[in-house]
């Protein structure tokens, strides 16, 4: 049960009510005071003060001052009128309860409204701030653009001025030269006339007195060579050769630091491959010296392939592979033979083996890799495994995008695939 605070005194004017509530010794904060437009409560447990006001007040602007053991309320009336009393007449308990709850609800709503209003205001502020910032940045940008533009114009003007100076200078030179030319011609005429008198012609002492025709010179103003300077030039050098060496590089392509590691790996592999002898030597004793050389055998195979003798070519490549199974080219070329012989599975095997051995991919083995993909792709297609075939053709195209033949074939395969898909 609260302890009611009943000692209060009040006075009023037409527009305001002044209420003074003693709260001796109690600590009061704003949280203890609850006020709506017609309900006032001060709760400092266990003490309680409550008043249902005679008429509504403007609770937003009304104030409560806490100090000196008193809470001093200044309540601004909504309607300027004199109140008969501070509080409404004795209401029954239910009404009081209802009024209290109503007041609380109202307070809640008001709080909510205030929050909403605050949010909206915050948004507006944010927007405004953003717009202001954007304007500032835009202004800054424009300022810089203007500076740059001014710079550009200044520089253009300077350039035009300089150009004009150039042109004027050239005109001057031309006029000067024309004048000289006329002088020359007259001097020559005089010389011819004055041959008899053998008078000395006062020499000008400059290069311009000597007149030398220049081959390919047209126009009324010729360009005179600086003969004096020419005579001071040293004779052409006596021809000589300097022999040079280059820092060795196996690949014909330019050196790029980032590719060096790959290239070295490829070279190392090739070198190793050459050294490998994987066949059983005893079987090979019957062979001639040249027949023990995988490269020679590969060449032989190539010749037989060119001649259409595919079985013989295969034999040559077989032997090459037996001697050294790390070289990619015998496998690659044997694949081509198998294609011709319609041993499609063997063609696929050999192309795959060749691709395995052609790693890492460097510009040097590009051609070989393209061939391997194309051969394997062809084999797949002939087995009607078009999807796999297309994959290989596309891989080939990736290495050699400019190759029209591969492109055309890839397109054909695509259409085949689409065709079979439509049928099924």
């Amino acid at each position: 049960m609260p302890v009611w605070l009943r000692e209060r005194c009040w006075r009023q004017t037409a527009s305001a009510v002044y209420l003074s509530l003693p709260v001796r010794g109690l600590r009061v904060t704003a949280a203890n005071i609850f006020c709506t437009d017609q309900y006032l409560k001060v709760s400092i447990p266990p003490f309680l003060f409550e008043a249902i006001l005679y008429a509504p007040i403007d609770d937003t602007n009304s104030t409560a001052k806490i100090g000196n053991g008193i809470i001093f309320f200044t309540l601004y009336k909504k309607e300027a009128a004199m109140w008969d009393s501070l509080t409404l007449g004795n209401a029954d308990k239910e009404k009081m309860q209802y009024l209290r709850e109503n007041a609380v609800l109202k307070a809640h709503e008001k709080a909510k409204e205030e929050m909403e209003a605050k949010k909206v205001k915050k948004q507006e502020h944010k927007k405004y701030a953003l717009e202001a910032t954007m304007k500032l940045e835009e202004a800054e940008r424009k300022r810089i653009e203007d500076l740059k533009e001014k710079e550009r114009q200044k520089v253009t003007k300077e350039l035009e001025l300089w150009k004009k100076q150039q042109e004027d200078a050239e005109k001057q030179k031309r006029v000067h030269k024309e004048g000289d030319l006329r002088e020359e011609v007259e001097k020559l005429k005089e010389k011819k006339k004055g041959k008899m008198n053998k008078t000395q012609i006062p020499s000008e002492g400059t290069s311009k007195t000597r007149f030398k025709p220049i081959k390919g010179c047209h126009g009324s103003y010729g360009m005179f060579s600086e003969n004096l300077k020419e005579e001071q030039l040293p004779a052409p050098r006596s021809a000589a050769t300097i022999k040079i060496n280059f820092t060795s590089r196996v690949f014909p392509t330019a050196l790029r630091e980032s590719r060096v590691a790959e290239e070295e790996e490829w070279l190392r592999k090739q070198a190793e491959a050459r050294r490998t002898l994987s066949a059983d030597l005893s079987e090979l004793e019957d062979l001639k010296e040249e027949e023990k050389n995988p490269d020679w055998l590969k060449e032989k195979g190539n010749k037989m392939f060119a001649a259409g003798n595919y079985l013989a070519a295969v034999n040559a490549y077989n032997l090459a592979v037996r001697l050294n199974n790390k070289l990619p080219l015998p496998y690659l070329n044997r694949a081509a033979c198998h294609l011709k012989l319609r041993n499609l599975h063997k063609a696929i095997e050999d192309s795959s083996k060749a691709l395995e051995l052609l790693t890492p991919p460097v510009p040097d083995n590009e051609n070989a890799r393209v061939k391997a993909y194309v051969r394997r792709g062809t084999a797949f297609c002939q087995l009607e495994l078009y999807t796999e075939g297309l994959q290989d053709y596309e891989a080939a195209l990736k290495i050699d995008p400019g190759n029209k033949t591969i492109e055309k074939d890839a397109e054909k395969i695509r259409q085949l695939i689409q065709g079979t898909m439509q049928d099924s």
């Binding site: 040293p234 280059f246 790029r256």
Partner: protein, 359 residues
């Protein structure tokens, strides 16, 4: 902060021209506001176009077609009056043209078996001493020096020894031409080799390998005692060598920079300030650099031999102009900051670099 940025040199785009052929080289005509573009037309012939800068546009003055596509050109050996232009083409031919009468070259030689990749000239334009000479570097692995007064045979030939497989020479440059006798040629190759040939003693003075194909070499000035050499390469790298001190085994000191991910196609020093240079890249960008010398340019090693000390580089500005490589670049010798560049997007661009006085 931005203000500081604007105090740096700015690269201002002044004019550009779309072309209908592949542009390989562009050069200012000395003492003028005109420039030459050369390249390869779609029909397989060579094109030479003369443009003039008028207002903010390039006006085509003249177009000359030749049998073979043109790869490179230089005014370096031309006299100021005649301004004959030397070109190297895809067939290995060196020609010198009088642009007023370009039907027949004033000098012509089939100097190389394959394309002439790079050309340079020295002794002309009132710069430097000694006879005008032209050097060409070719895919056939040789570097040859020509004197326009001597027909058919070069005055110097740098070729591989018998049996040596050739490498592609990608770039050549003259240097050290400070008196009538001295002259060097620097050549860069696709296998990363850089070789320095002394023409006075007709010998190989220095060589090194920078681990990436060498795209462009240039001395900061051709007509002084060789001071600095910049070499650019594949993989976005370039090296600046201090050429004043050659150590008996270590050669020249250098500093290098990896500025971009892609090839650095060209380097060109500002004619009016030899410590500023521009590099052009495979990603269509231009970088403007300044070299700062160290406190001491040389020091003694543990055995008392002199060795050079490399300085440092600072990036003044960079700009991306295109998505295609900028393969050619030339500063105007007459107007500081004015430059022209050509890219593989078939566009030639005239740019002005500002505030170079404040650097």
């Amino acid at each position: 902060e931005m203000a500081a940025g604007l105090d740096r040199p700015q690269v201002v785009s002044h004019a550009q021209q779309a072309l209908n052929y592949t542009l390989f080289d562009c050069k200012w005509v000395p003492r003028s506001a005109r420039l030459l573009c050369l390249g390869s037309a779609a029909r397989g012939s060579g094109l030479l176009q003369l443009y003039e800068l008028r207002g903010g546009r390039l006006a085509l003055l003249r177009e000359i077609e030749k049998a073979k596509p043109l790869k490179c050109g230089t005014f370096g050996a031309a006299s100021l009056q005649q301004r004959y232009f030397a070109t190297g083409d895809f067939g290995g031919n060196l020609n010198i043209w009088n642009l007023e009468a370009p039907e027949i070259p004033v000098y012509s030689v089939k100097g190389h078996k394959e394309i002439i990749n790079s050309i340079d000239g020295v002794g002309g334009l009132g710069i430097g001493e000694g006879a005008p000479e032209i050097v060409t570097g070719s895919r056939d692995g040789t570097v040859k020096v020509w004197d326009p007064r001597q027909k058919d045979t070069p005055v110097a030939n740098m070729e591989p020894v018998q049996g040596e497989s050739k490498r592609d020479c990608w770039t050549v440059a003259f240097g050290n031409a400070y008196n009538q006798e001295e002259r060097v040629v620097c050549a860069g190759y696709d296998n990363g080799d850089i070789k320095l040939f002394d023409l006075k003693t007709m010998s190989l003075r220095w060589e090194t390998n920078i681990k990436n194909g060498v795209c462009s070499v240039e001395f900061d000035r051709k007509d002084v005692n060789m001071n600095k050499l910049v070499a650019t390469s594949l993989e976005g790298k370039f090296h600046v060598f201090d050429m004043r001190t050659q150590h008996p085994t270590k050669g020249f000191a250098s500093v290098s920079e990896k500025a971009q991910k892609s090839t650095i196609w060209q380097v060109r020093h500002l004619p009016q300030n030899r410590d500023i240079f521009m590099t052009s890249g495979g990603a269509g960008s231009l970088h403007l650099w300044k070299y700062e010398y160290p406190a001491q340019r040389s020091k003694k090693d543990s055995e008392g031999a002199e060795m050079g000390v490399a300085g440092s580089l600072s990036l003044l500005q960079n700009v991306t102009l295109s998505t295609q490589p900028i393969s050619s670049l030339d500063w105007s010798p007459d107007k500081k900051g004015l430059c022209v560049c050509g890219a593989f997007d078939q566009t030639v661009r005239v740019l002005i670099v500002t505030k170079l006085n404040k650097v």
